[in-house]
């Protein structure tokens, strides 16, 4: 099925921590907005919050009762891992600093942090959503959202923290408003999906909500001033129109221009605006924050989505892809039912390796290090639309109807391997480290087989340390990985 390519060896995901404690499968993980805490939720009806001991790079002393740290595992020798990165030590001392329990009566399926990092929402098979706040050093439940008829499968806060979206097996998407005094009011209930809704995610600009369903479709929802309406449905119109089985997860790229989705049909699809071909080059994708930064110059306008499938990544997964995450580096991580974690990128992974190494050097030298100027990419000898990036699977790309300006290699345009305006540092904002090369074909850059001993249910990149990846599994573990 899959033939690894030599180029894949230049990048790897290294295990840096393996966190045990949950008494049942772990369904989801979520990083706090600053990336300093990781929350995980489980069939054991609890949430665990994990964090790193400040400054420690040596093994901990006697473990405290709540500390559940296992560093490394049998297949990773900690001494050989001692890498060159000093930002986060190769042997990381992660421990469980809080357990949220005695709230839900059934599996907790999903968790989400509020944008200010002060609240957590938990979605449960018991048909409720709980809101938690940190009071001093203790997490307390402060609200409960009731309304779904049965299992709630996903919960997500919008970027300004005013709204929460939820979805579940009752086929509906609910939108709740956060009011003063820890009150929450349901402002809309959206029917439309014909089956179980698996995931909901907000666009980084707000204004636009995406839902993914067992009915094989993806729906986009916008507010029309009065209520939320379904402004677009991706798929569901017969063969070739979208996914051919349950869509499990969706994720926006760091610029909010493209959407990635993963499915039981064993593919990942990348969706982009029909207008995207008009103005090639990195300039138009610059993010200035707020919705003003999105959609300028022919890109996606969140209030009027017009997505179509530009790329399908198939042949890389042998079983259901349960989760994917498009990280701040522009790389896409996925977790599947064959216990694997994959990382996809655009262009030449060898280039990416150079970039990553350069950024490691820079970080070691400290903020005074010189910036790498834009590096023109010579890995672009493949036409956009040519088959197969660096992996053995089949990457099919649909050429845009109107013809894309980015159809060939354009070394002079300086397709930046490192997007750096001199102010952004590694780990700061989405215009920091971008090892991939825009406009180049997608390929598989690294794959960890047997990343876990069972299905990988969720993968999430750390928002502040963009090379740190969290994963969780039916094997009851949460694992942390570092991209080298």
């Amino acid at each position: 099925l899959f033939q690894p390519c030599q180029k894949m060896d230049c990048l790897s995901l290294e295990l840096v921590a393996s966190l045990a404690g949950h008494q049942d499968r772990v369904w989801s993980v979520a990083w706090s907005p600053k990336g300093d805490f990781l929350a995980s939720c489980s069939g054991d009806k609890t949430v665990r919050i994990w964090t790193r001991r400040a400054g420690a790079t040596s093994p901990p002393a006697a473990a405290a009762p709540s500390a559940a740290t296992i560093t490394g595992n049998d297949s990773v020798n900690p001494t050989t891992c001692a890498g060159s990165n000093t930002i986060i030590g190769a042997q990381q001392q992660w421990y469980c600093c809080a357990i949220l329990d005695q709230c839900h009566s059934r599996t907790i399926r999903n968790i989400a942090w509020s944008p200010n990092g002060k609240a957590l929402a938990t979605a449960s098979f018991d048909a409720t959503v709980a809101i938690w706040e940190l009071a001093g050093s203790v997490w307390e439940q402060v609200a409960e959202l009731e309304g779904h008829e049965n299992e709630v499968k996903c919960v997500t806060w919008n970027p300004d923290g005013r709204l929460i979206a939820t979805c579940g097996r009752d086929r509906s998407v609910w939108i709740w408003e956060s009011l003063p005094g820890r009150e929450f009011e349901c402002v809309d209930v959206k029917q439309g999906h014909t089956q179980d809704v698996k995931a909901v995610r907000w666009h980084p600009a707000g204004e636009l909500l995406v839902s993914a369903s067992y009915d094989d479709t993806i729906k986009l929802w916008n507010y029309d001033g009065d209520e939320w309406v379904c402004s677009q449905t991706l798929g569901g119109c017969g063969p070739g129109s979208g996914h051919s089985s349950t869509v499990w997860d969706v994720s926006w790229d760091p610029d909010g221009q493209r959407l990635a989705s993963c499915s039981d049909d064993l593919t990942i699809k990348l969706w982009e605006s029909r207008a995207a071909g008009a103005a090639p080059g990195p300039g138009r994708l610059a993010v200035s924050g707020g919705s003003g930064g999105y959609g300028g110059g022919g890109g996606l306008v969140p209030s009027r989505p017009d997505l179509r499938c530009g790329t399908t990544l198939s042949g890389y997964h042998g079983r259901t892809i349960f989760s994917l995450d498009w990280g701040p580096t522009g790389l896409i991580a996925s977790g599947d039912g064959e216990d694997c974690i994959c990382v996809f990128g655009q262009g030449d992974p060898e280039m990416a390796r150079v970039v990553l190494r350069a950024s490691e050097e820079e970080a070691r030298q400290g903020p005074a290090g010189t910036n790498t100027s834009s590096v023109s990419c010579d890995g672009g000898d493949e036409r956009r639309g040519g088959g197969g990036g660096s992996g053995g699977g089949d990457t099919t790309e649909v050429d845009p109807d109107d013809g894309s300006g980015a159809s060939g290699p354009d070394a002079d345009a300086g397709v930046s391997a490192l997007r750096d305006d001199g102010k952004e540092r590694l780990g700061k904002g989405s215009t920091g480290l971008r090892p991939g090369q825009e406009g180049q074909p997608w390929g598989l850059w690294t794959r960890v087989q047997s990343a876990h001993d069972a299905d990988v249910n969720c993968v999430r990149w750390n928002p502040a340390h963009p090379r740190l990846l969290a994963s969780c599994s039916d094997d009851r573990l949460v694992k942390l990985w570092w991209l080298r």
Binding site: R25, T107, R109, G337
Partner: protein, 181 residues
């Protein structure tokens, strides 16, 4: 349960199976002291699961058979196809769920289990297969105490459940006889 979906199922004999030791063995497994899991072993796990409706096992009703089982021990994959007694059987999901639960309980966690209807054996084949393949739906279903107890009744040792079902059958017969007279 006053009306059975299939009041007159065809009942087969329980086959007696003799395990023939094959010469071809995975040497690594032998070194570990472990026999590779094969189709017969899977069949042994599932043959005596009770049909939810009738006082017979899935083997007796030909719902499962050894030749509808595929096992790849090296890769840790098991595939079971089952054939409900009638094409519109509403118990198909329950039977599929019982198969999945039995194998989950009996096999090492490294095994990936696929349960499907035999092609062409059911009017809602795709829909049933999709539900059985969705592990989130399965997990949520098994948290439902009513459904879980139905599954456990199917998985309980044959004698108890068969007696129960036969008693129910007798009561129905008596009831019918009473109303007929």
């Amino acid at each position: 349960m006053s009306e059975l979906i299939n009041p007159n199922p065809i009942v087969h004999e329980r086959k007696s199976t003799i395990r023939i030791k094959s010469d071809h063995r995975n040497e690594a497994l032998v070194a570990e002291g472990r026999e590779p899991i094969d189709a017969l072993e899977i069949f042994d796990h599932i043959r005596d699961i009770n049909d939810p409706e009738h006082p017979y096992t899935l083997e007796q009703l030909n719902v499962v058979s050894e030749d509808q089982i595929e096992v790849d021990d090296d890769r840790g994959r098991v595939s079971v196809q089952f054939t409900p007694t009638v094409a519109h059987c509403s118990m198909a999901t329950l039977i599929g769920l019982s198969l999945r639960v039995k194998l989950m309980r009996c096999l090492p966690p490294r095994f990936k289990i696929d349960i499907k209807l035999s092609p062409g054996s059911h009017s809602s084949e795709a829909a049933v297969n999709k539900q059985l393949a969705d592990k989130e739906r399965v997990a949520a279903a098994l948290e439902n105490p009513n459904l879980l107890s139905m599954v456990n009744r199917c998985l309980s040792p044959p004698q108890e459940s068969v007696n129960e079902q036969q008693q129910q059958q007798q009561q129905r017969n008596v009831g019918e006889a009473a109303t007929a007279s």
